[in-house]
């Protein structure tokens, strides 16, 4: 078991080094970002405690993936596998529990710890055998694959908007729009294989335009039920609803551009910091987009042989 965790430690350090940081600096920065982000959510969102718990559980669900736990089972046996999994989940939950306790939410902290242990004892197949239908089949691939990967999270955003209307909490409704955009931002977080860019006949400019158009069209389709619901129930707040909708679209464009400005590498620390700054002060997005655009064009020019 000690070997296993030593290996995980080495792998984690390797990932931090790949992001261009020393492990110590990376850990400090990561923890600081986590604390600041949590503080931000608790400050801005009424239901932040649920969000924190949900994020923690989603990480733990990933670790309970069947192939992964099967590997642990075949390598370490049943008893040791359970010990490893429980310990892994407790390590993951530590910063989340710390934040919740810091906010004096003791029952929630106990529930999170209890759930962490329970999840560790089960395995889940995260990939379903049947094909999940998607409205984005005509224009693969980001929304086609992303929609399927986040299939279980999407209803949460819709449910939040319904709750918002029922409890007459407009802010929660706006949060559900932003949550939907946050989910769609994740569709652009990983770079695709070079082949999938190379295969396009477009120029870098038309390639980016096409990507941004598809992102706009598809995210509009996903958010329109929420936006319409809020517009009907809060017609006087139409300007705020539209404002947040457009902010969401701008962030999506920035994300597309951030991805290709780092391409073919993954979005790393510099791009991440810029996006995080823009998230904390949204008007910055108007500077971020023109900053990423020429960098994306430059990278794409090499692959699209323009």
């Amino acid at each position: 078991m000690k070997d296993y965790f030593e290996l995980q430690y080495v792998l984690t350090n390797r990932k931090i080094k790949e992001a261009g940081l020393t492990p110590l600096l990376g850990s400090i920065l990561g923890l600081t970002a986590f604390v600041l982000l949590s503080e931000y959510f608790f400050h801005k969102i009424e239901f932040a405690k649920y969000l924190v718990i949900l994020v923690c559980l989603s990480f733990q669900f990933r670790l309970s993936e069947k192939d992964r736990t099967d590997f642990l089972l075949s390598t370490y046996g049943d008893k040791l596998k359970n010990k490893i999994r429980v310990l892994e989940n407790l390590i993951i939950s530590t910063p989340f529990v710390f934040i919740i306790v810091y906010k004096s939410l003791f029952p929630e902290a106990i529930i999170l710890l209890f759930c962490s242990i329970i999840i560790a004892l089960f395995s889940f197949r995260t990939s379903l055998n049947f094909t999940i239908p998607t409205p984005f089949s005509k224009n693969p691939f980001e929304f086609t694959t992303g929609f399927r990967k986040t299939f279980l999270i999407l209803p949460l955003a819709y449910a939040l908007s319904v709750i918002a209307i029922n409890v007459d909490n407009f802010n929660l409704g706006i949060f559900s729009i932003l949550l939907m955009f946050l989910i769609t931002l994740s569709y652009y977080s990983k770079p695709e294989e070079e082949f999938y860019v190379w295969v396009n006949v477009d120029t870098p400019k038309s390639f980016l335009m096409k990507k941004m158009m598809i992102a706009t069209k598809n995210s509009t389709l996903l958010t329109i039920p929420i936006s319409l619901g809020l517009l009907i129930c809060y017609p006087a707040e139409y300007n705020l609803i539209l404002l947040f909708f457009f902010i969401g679209i701008l962030f999506l464009w920035a994300m597309v551009l951030a991805k290709y400005s780092a391409y073919p590498s993954e979005i790393s620390l510099p791009e991440g910091i810029i996006i995080a700054f823009a998230l904390s002060f949204p008007p910055l997005i108007l500077l971020v987009i023109p900053y990423f655009y020429p960098k994306s064009i430059k990278n794409l020019r090499l692959i699209l042989n323009d």
């Binding site: 055998n129 094909t131 691939f141 694959t145 190379w198 692959i303 042989n305």
Partner: protein, 226 residues
């Protein structure tokens, strides 16, 4: 026509292609053979424009990459994309819309299933179908027969011959010599990044024998099988 002049490719200090000179004409099928690591895939990637190189690759069709059907040895598939969506993705990339994909599913693939669940052979057949539907002028098929069942290999051979009849340029690599001798007009032999020789159809038998002699040598005797 594609003309390669004095092509050189390095990865750091490692020279993977040395002074390659080749010419590929329309309506002809060209084979590229060599051991693993001989430089076949790198050569294909250079022609496709996926690698930087020294030397010249000139094509009558410009830009070549927009008219090139590229089948990679091990095609990558997104985890939650169906076969049909994969074909659509590749056709959309070439602005080919409104294609009846179901009708053109000649390998009878389960197109509504996730491509990542396909077997190796099925993945290859899917990738081949997609580049065929892109209506390319030139094709690079890196080990198209690898992992594909005999029935589909027969179909694939006929497809390659049909592409020749349609005046397309086809480059194929394969580790099964017969698949090349059945289809190719010329075969280029690569060894450790060097172009050892280029052989016309009438001399394929000699090339096969030469490759056998070189490859086998006295290796079997070394085993001292009893």
């Amino acid at each position: 026509m594609i003309k390669i002049k004095e092509l050189n490719k390095h990865y750091g200090n490692n020279e993977v292609l040395k002074e390659i000179n080749m010419e590929f004409l329309r309506g002809k099928i060209y084979g590229v053979v060599g051991e693993n690591g001989a430089g076949k895939t790198t050569l294909f990637r250079c022609i496709a424009g996926l690698e930087n190189y020294k030397g010249e690759i000139i094509s009558q069709i410009s830009p070549l990459k927009n008219h090139l059907g590229l089948l990679l040895t091990d095609p990558f598939f997104f985890s939650k994309i169906t076969g049909k969506e994969y074909i659509r993705l590749l056709c959309n990339a070439r602005n080919k819309k409104n294609i009846n994909i179901d009708q053109k599913n000649i390998f009878d693939l389960p197109l509504n299933q996730y491509a990542s669940t396909y077997s190796t052979g099925m993945k290859k057949k899917l990738a081949i179908t997609a580049i065929l539907l892109q209506e390319n002028e030139c094709f690079i098929l890196d080990e198209p027969f690898n992992g594909v069942d005999i029935q589909s290999n027969i179909i694939l051979t006929e497809i390659i011959l049909k592409l020749k009849a349609l005046n397309k340029t086809v480059l194929v690599s394969s580790h099964i010599f017969s698949t090349l001798s059945d289809t190719c007009d010329e075969i280029h032999l690569l060894r450790k990044g060097e172009q050892i020789k280029s052989v016309q159809k009438e001399d394929f038998k000699l090339l096969e024998q030469e490759m056998k002699d070189f490859t086998i040598g006295n290796r079997i005797e070394k085993l001292e099988l009893k």
